[in-house]
Symmetry: D2
Subunit: 338 residues, 4 copies
């Protein structure tokens, strides 16, 4: 299968290359990069020297003569919506890793502060949270790959919502992310000396992943959900830890809920439920497509506390994108991801 990667020289693009190099069914036909066009990919990321020396091309210079099967868009939002359209017109399947197709037009424009320019395809897209929307994904031509925070939060919350354990009001998601989540563009905020030995909350009340999380959970709950989501920047490269606070509807033990999570995810190779009293850490999922989840019922306050860990670049971006490609293409879901 021939695939292309647009935006290959960002962190998500790099991760796509890393994973797809090990995929036995995939041939990488092109790598696009505006900033580094004309350079070998391995000049941009020297770790790939001798493994991926292909020249990066400007997106405009990509010949669509050679039949492509699928394109990954690892582009900044607002850029993706221009490119998705073109590939879809050529009947090339698209997996978009940006935020451009994750929200309805109105919500998009409110939270991303930008007009949407491809409403037509917005109505056709399938939201690629693999474990939850697997059957739809299998038939999709066009996938909007979930955000990193929404993946981490919704995989932790959906079983409890779905099984009716928790109140739908008053949920709190306190999430901590490594610096790669902000992308590879230089900025003072991402300067080593500003991030190292430091932690901060940011974008409280205005982070664009808030409506995305609310939307997925609302679909599952079949009821509109509003919640609080506060992201934090921590001095690590890759990883998101989300700690979620919910209220139980009735008295129940940790082990009962654990059992129902195990049941919920029994066919999902990438979800690892941790035993009672054990909680995840990002180091254990680094470089993998796993989502580790730990649970705790706090009897004193009748709360269910859920902690989930993913690698924001893998399960939170490139890994889930490849998982979706596998589903769309009839390959084993875990291919190249183990």
């Amino acid at each position: 299968m021939k695939i292309g990667i647009c935006g290959a020289t960002g962190y998500s693009g790099r991760e796509l290359v890393r994973i797809l190099l090990c995929h036995p069914k995939v041939e990488i036909a092109f790598l696009s990069s505006e900033q580094f066009s004309g350079k070998p990919f391995s000049d941009v990321f020297p770790e790939f020297r001798s493994r991926m020396d292909k020249i990066c091309q400007k997106i405009d210079s990509i010949s669509l003569n050679e039949k492509l099967d699928l394109v990954f868009l690892a582009l900044p939002h607002t850029v993706s919506m221009k490119m998705a359209k073109l590939f879809l017109q050529q009947n090339i399947r698209v997996i978009d890793l940006s935020g451009d197709y994750r929200l309805p037009q109105e919500l998009y424009e409110k939270w991303y502060h930008h007009p949407h320019q491809d409403a037509q395809n917005l109505s056709k897209v399938v939201y690629g949270l693999s474990e939850i929307f697997r059957e739809k994904i299998k038939k999709a031509q066009f996938i909007s790959n979930p955000g990193c925070y929404p993946t981490s939060a919704s995989l932790g919350l959906i079983p409890a919502i779905s099984k009716g354990w928790i109140e739908l009001e008053g949920m709190v998601i306190d999430a901590k992310s490594g610096a790669s989540g902000a992308g590879r563009n230089p900025s003072l905020t991402m300067h080593f000396c500003e991030v190292y030995d430091n932690i901060k909350a940011y974008k409280i009340g205005v982070h664009q992943h808030t409506p995305e999380i609310e939307q997925i959970l609302s679909v599952v709950a079949k009821k509109e959900i509003h919640l609080d989501f506060v992201p934090h920047l921590i001095p690590i490269q890759q990883g998101i830890l989300s700690t979620m606070y919910t209220r139980l509807k009735k008295r129940v033990s940790t082990s009962e809920i654990l059992a129902s999570y195990l049941e919920f995810y029994k066919n999902d190779s990438f979800i690892r439920m941790l035993p009672e009293g054990v909680f995840p850490q990002t180091a254990d999922v680094k470089g993998t497509n796993f989502c580790d989840i730990g649970l705790h019922v706090e009897e004193r306050t009748q709360r269910l506390i859920i902690v989930s860990a993913i690698d924001n670049m893998v399960k939170g971006a490139a890994g889930q994108a490849v998982q979706n490609m596998n589903l769309m293409s009839g390959f084993p879901e875990v291919m190249a991801l183990q």
Copy 2:
């Protein structure tokens, strides 16, 4: 004034030395250390070479002939309660940085899993949260210095509770701490390779600072409070960031609440309220006795979100201890802390 430091070669002890070396009214009479007795303090912490070369002594070898005015106990819990007694008997004032005198006996024994052996002094101790209990501290002979997490959480929550803005039920404290909080004893958990590039939640539901936080807030609220507190270990040296989620009783703006916090802390040099839309980061308080606080009213969910940052070793331990010593001794409260 002559003071002594017991447990000088832990991280809190080191910080006490660092601060007190700059204190114009204090002479350090002794530094105790069981592990490093007989060695110069500057061999244990070479940063102090030429600044503090005093020999560390075993605690038993300290002559109480020379009149001491005050002793800081930077000892592990369960050890402090043995030493506090001895010094208090000699009419030497004591500031205890351990957890031994922060809780009533019953709660102590439940959460610390250890019998309390000095119930007598437990009834005489004053809890040293400087900004809140200043007048009592001024007259105290014996101070129990607050825990790092409780300091960070209660300074953030108390004005909102005190002014009646928030519901007393359902508060959530999600706290992130640097590794120095765990002390200087080697353990696999604190091995560089286990902490670096990693984040995890720990001791969910069983952390001994939970009842301490609940107790302070209950005193302020004049009503029993139960809440959820989840600590996290992040790969930084010093610093705690606490993100607190509370429910508002009524519709109110961020700026109104900000104004009432400013009023509440108007005489407190170490509390810095951040303007609307700005949130604290631990780097800004590193090495200082400041507590930085930012607020956000989330209208969608009627929540007040409060973020506070302290240096766990300074405002969360040694700095607040010196602040308390200043209060007890009639020195300017900020002496040696600016």
Copy 3:
């Protein structure tokens, strides 16, 4: 092929498991651990949950009934020499990752401060620097796997020595290593707060890798070599960067030397020579078996400066061990290492 790993719960053991799980010809028959015996490997390293849940055994409890083909010893030095003997007696091939069989008895006892207790096998061992001693390794029953620093230094220096470009006197190796090199045992030296945001030189003049480096280079040079080697501890997890300073015998350009290095390593998949003006960084080899090498001729001083980077846990330990196993077993040299 059935293999066993002794000392599986150290950092080298973990890395062996990580690599061998992907090896199509290998079945892991046992994992030994004194400290964690009776526990699943994935309890010790939760990243392996669902991938390697085998129970760790005490080394004494390992049944040698089931025919083993090869054993990796990832044990502390002085322990390895007791175990190697036993396995070799049973005609089980052994790859020892400790320092126990890297030096002649006299040098060993001088630099390791410990009597050698298996002189017999010391005379039979083959030194496993794969690229240099490949033919001997192919026929070996017993391999002493090189130290991390010696691998990094000798791969950088050998071509220049072998081709006669440089003076054999006065070489300087300034090496910087991540913290995993010190092993997983807790110690104050490896406490997060002591390593983070810090760099230091250590063991100047007394590091046990000094004679190991001198020995390899002397074999290549056919002349006794003495040099200066200074190791440094830097706050990263995995990786060694060695900067080497040598004097040129005659005027020559960087590109000439580069060409001769490329020729020297033309059949070595794991050596990547960097183009003129480009120098390696440890991030580019992290998790891989690559050794990246950059060169610079400094005309002002007539020096050849060589910089090499490896992952100390992979090419500097477990990766090279598997490379050696592949060579000994007739598998493709790169199997499971790409």
Copy 4:
């Protein structure tokens, strides 16, 4: 005394403010910043909130009516040479922290790739390595503050050269610096994810501090010196560790050389000589004006190995600048630096 700081919102500028806020003889009259003009300094560096809230000004808008005594230039090189001239014309003393006045014109133009535009003042400047050129500095109107690497290297090497212990040929300086040395301008090279968990050598053979080091040492040796200097970037914020390799002229012990260093620096409060067998680490000098130095004579190779540690922002920049200001102004040399 009234001083101004040009370029106050870079890392050196910040450090100048931090130090000068504690200086009892200094009043900060203005802070200039092109990028952040119009903003309070404490908006740019929130750690200064309530301690330094002065508004940053564009350099052009600074009124020279109010009599200034001294100006610190913490500007990028090539910018400094424009400003120094203006202040000197007004008879305002200048301490320049850039590289603009550290080299003779010809060398400057060769290594900085930029024409020098103030040759006139170049001939009047005094090189501000405080311990070595103290008497000249006391009388100076215009100081060129040394580079961070040159400070670290020359303080380590000068006593050995001055006392004639070592050969002047073949010296090697292997230096490791934290990321603040590269300044605060955003760039891909300084992106957190590129620096964290990584180490690399850079600018081998072309670093502009090479001729600066050679020049100082040549002055001391009264003979032209050429040497090898390789800088490395390590993932810490502040600090330089330099490991220096020199050849001894004759057999001598570590303790003899140590004694001669102690003698050499006997009046220098900021130089701390470490005892035999002990070597410096950057953590011990962080935030201080100390330079810690350790020595080792390697008998096997007849080398003297010298390791020095400084904080690149303090002794390597702002601290030494204030030390020079103290010398120029007749204040105690250590004022505000302890």
